[in-house]
């Protein structure tokens, strides 16, 4: 899954550079262990809620790769029929009810999905994915409090990549202590290496188990780093002097390379990796072909779906 996200996003980056994709694309290259590790601990009927950087969440939760590529191309075959682009992804059958770019906006919505599960008497879990920038918003703190207060089955996953667009974490807060928000609001908080997929998966399993069993919400602060800029494929090296050094350091901690080393040490052959990578590249190439060949939305549909019709409810 990590490789699938990586190859998909590298392709999207190349197509942005080639001007074939125009919609703003926020790439999560370097952060793939988090969606992969978290979603591996979820069921299909659990929900995930994301933001502007959610290609990985969508794929890891089971969203259709072709439909996302077509969406990014603005085509009628896209997962949102060309109304969403990269920043608004959806796959309700997979529990992806929508990812949107308003920072922190979906955090309370995940809390609501958890409240809904509790009121409906199911054991579904809701996961909110958000960046460290979102923890600067009131949404985040209000939501943590509500989730703890009502003991809701929600997992808050902070992908702390140390940047909110161009601003570093230390330019935005006095302390590097996002996880402490959990204890302040009365829920469990865990800090972990977000580039180690095994750690992420284990932490997710525990958080999901707690949520599903009624033991309440968890905040996971997954420390990671985004290799590319805030938006688009460039590396944003101009944001500060430390960026180059940090990037070199974090690229040595590539989550995919680390996972591959781990698996090699356990006897997985390099042929198998090569085969897997070739399959993924073929899948992504096919998706590009599918997206290119797909028709755009019909202009007659411009005003459809502003409201749902009563019959459809």
């Amino acid at each position: 899954m990590m490789l699938r996200i990586r190859v998909f996003e590298e392709m999207v980056g190349a197509l942005v550079t080639a001007n074939e994709i125009r919609t703003p694309c926020h790439l999560s290259i370097g952060q793939e262990a988090i969606p992969a590790g978290i979603c591996a601990a979820l069921r299909q009927d659990d929900s995930v809620w994301g933001g502007h950087r959610s290609h990985g969440h969508y794929l890891a939760k089971g969203g259709d790769l072709n439909a996302m590529m077509a969406e990014i191309f603005g085509k009628a075959t896209g997962c949102a029929q060309g109304r969403g682009g990269s920043m608004h992804l959806v796959a309700p059958a997979q529990g992806i009810f929508g990812t949107v770019p308003l920072v922190a906006a979906t955090i309370p919505m995940a809390v609501g999905a958890a409240l809904s599960a509790k009121l409906r008497g199911t054991d579904q879990v809701a996961v909110a994915f958000f960046g460290d920038g979102a923890t600067d918003e009131g949404h985040f703190h209000e939501s943590l409090n509500l989730a703890a207060l009502y003991n809701l089955p929600v997992v808050f996953v902070c992908e702390n990549n140390f940047y909110s667009t161009h601003l570093t974490l230390k330019e935005r807060r006095v302390k590097d202590n996002i996880v402490e928000s959990a204890a302040l609001h009365g829920l469990k908080g865990v800090v972990l290496d977000g580039n180690d997929v095994t750690s992420v998966y284990q932490a997710a399993q525990e958080a999901v188990r707690r949520a599903r069993s009624g033991a309440g919400p968890t905040l996971l602060e997954c420390r990671t780093y985004r290799w590319r800029g805030h938006v688009g494929p460039a590396a944003d090296l101009e944001v500060g002097e430390e960026r180059r050094r940090e990037l070199d350091e974090w690229q040595r901690r590539d989550p995919i390379a680390q996972c591959r080393e781990l698996l090699s040490a356990r006897g997985v052959s390099s042929d198998l990796f090569d085969c897997l990578e070739a399959d993924i590249r073929a899948e992504v190439d096919d998706a590009v072909r599918f997206a290119r060949q797909s028709p755009g939305p019909d202009e007659s549909e411009l005003l459809h779906h502003v409201y749902v019709s009563r019959r459809g409810v």
Binding site: R83, V90, F97, M109, A110, H139, H305
Partner: protein, 324 residues
């Protein structure tokens, strides 16, 4: 027919909805406190339990956002904001999220949430406890906005809002809470988007919203005594609003006064006036008059409040003006 107050009609709608549909729940600040809600939610927590009648922290953003998330995943929440001013802290969930999701996701996701805002002004409460910003929300595609003026509509529109399937802003006015009127016993809906003719007349069309519909009824009586025959339309829904009814009435009378107890600039009255001018200009025999609040925040001092708020007297004056 049985008489209920406006507040009790709202309460009855909630109670019947909670009883009829397990998906319905209520969340917001002060839902079990009469200081916030008058009698409009009285003892619902005792009747339906605190799990479904959730008195929340002062977290407008998270409670509204959570209601939206719950709506998307199968529930029918009603969010309560005891003052419309407070609801502005939830502008992101309402305007960016609830309003957009159906369109953004091509109808695959719907947001059947009712967001109730109470206009609770007067009493020297001042600028941040008095606002009526319905126009702000009516501006946004994807939202529906209703403003009942009678006990009958207060109940029927709340039920319609919960059944609608779209995000609906339900705006009630504390100045109407003690008004009594006929209210049917069972669950019934007042269709969203349909206005009501409260009095037929031939001289002037008077379109009024919410509290001003009650004031307009008084004005119409005063005017009738002077031989002026006013057709009074209670708009009931301001998004969508009942264009056809307004156009047909103005087509008959040729004169239009619009009364909306909110700021004049960029308001509902402006929208109706612009639509009438754009669509049936030739039917008009006189300029359109608007009775709205002055473009200033609400003052506190009783003396200034008296000067600030409009009512029957200003409506009478406006009707006489368009008849000159």
């Amino acid at each position: 027919m049985r008489q209920l107050t406006y507040a009790k009609a709202i309460r009855e709608a909630h109670a019947q909805l909670l009883a009829a549909d397990p998906r319905v729940f209520l969340i917001g600040q002060g839902v079990r406190n009469p200081w916030y809600a008058g009698t409009s939610l009285q003892d619902l927590d005792k009747e339906f339990g605190k799990d479904r009648v959730i008195d929340s922290p002062v977290s407008e953003n998270a409670t509204t956002g959570a209601a939206i998330g719950a709506a998307i995943t199968g529930m029918r929440p009603i969010v309560f904001h005891p003052r419309m001013d407070f609801m502005l802290l939830a502008a992101d969930p309402i305007m960016n999220q609830a309003a957009n999701w159906s369109y953004l996701f091509a109808g695959q996701v719907s947001v059947p949430v009712v967001i109730r805002a109470v206009i609770n002004r007067g009493g020297e409460q001042g600028a941040q406890h008095s606002q009526a910003v319905q126009a702000l929300f009516a501006h946004v595609p994807g939202l529906k906005v209703v403003m009942p003026a009678t006990p009958h509509d207060a109940k029927g529109l709340l039920i319609a809002a919960v059944q609608d399937g779209n995000p609906v802003l339900y705006i009630d006015d504390r100045w109407l809470y003690e008004v009594e009127g006929d209210v049917p016993d069972g669950l019934y809906e007042v269709p969203i988007g349909s206005a009501a003719i409260r009095r037929s007349g031939k001289d002037v069309t008077l379109v009024a919203t919410s509290y001003m519909a009650a004031e307009a009824a008084k004005a119409v009586e005063m005017l009738a005594q002077r031989g002026i025959d006013v057709e009074l339309i209670d708009l009931r829904s301001i998004k969508p609003w009942d264009r056809n009814l307004v156009y047909s009435s103005v087509g008959k009378t040729g004169r239009l006064v619009i009364a909306d107890a909110a700021w004049m600039s960029g308001g509902i009255a402006a929208e109706i006036a612009a639509s009438v001018v754009g669509e049936i200009f030739h039917a008009l025999k006189a300029p359109i008059a608007r009775v709205c609040l002055p473009d200033a925040p609400a003052p506190t001092s009783f003396v200034l409040e008296q000067a600030y708020y409009v009512g029957a007297e200003q409506i009478v004056f406006a009707v006489e003006k368009v008849l000159l």
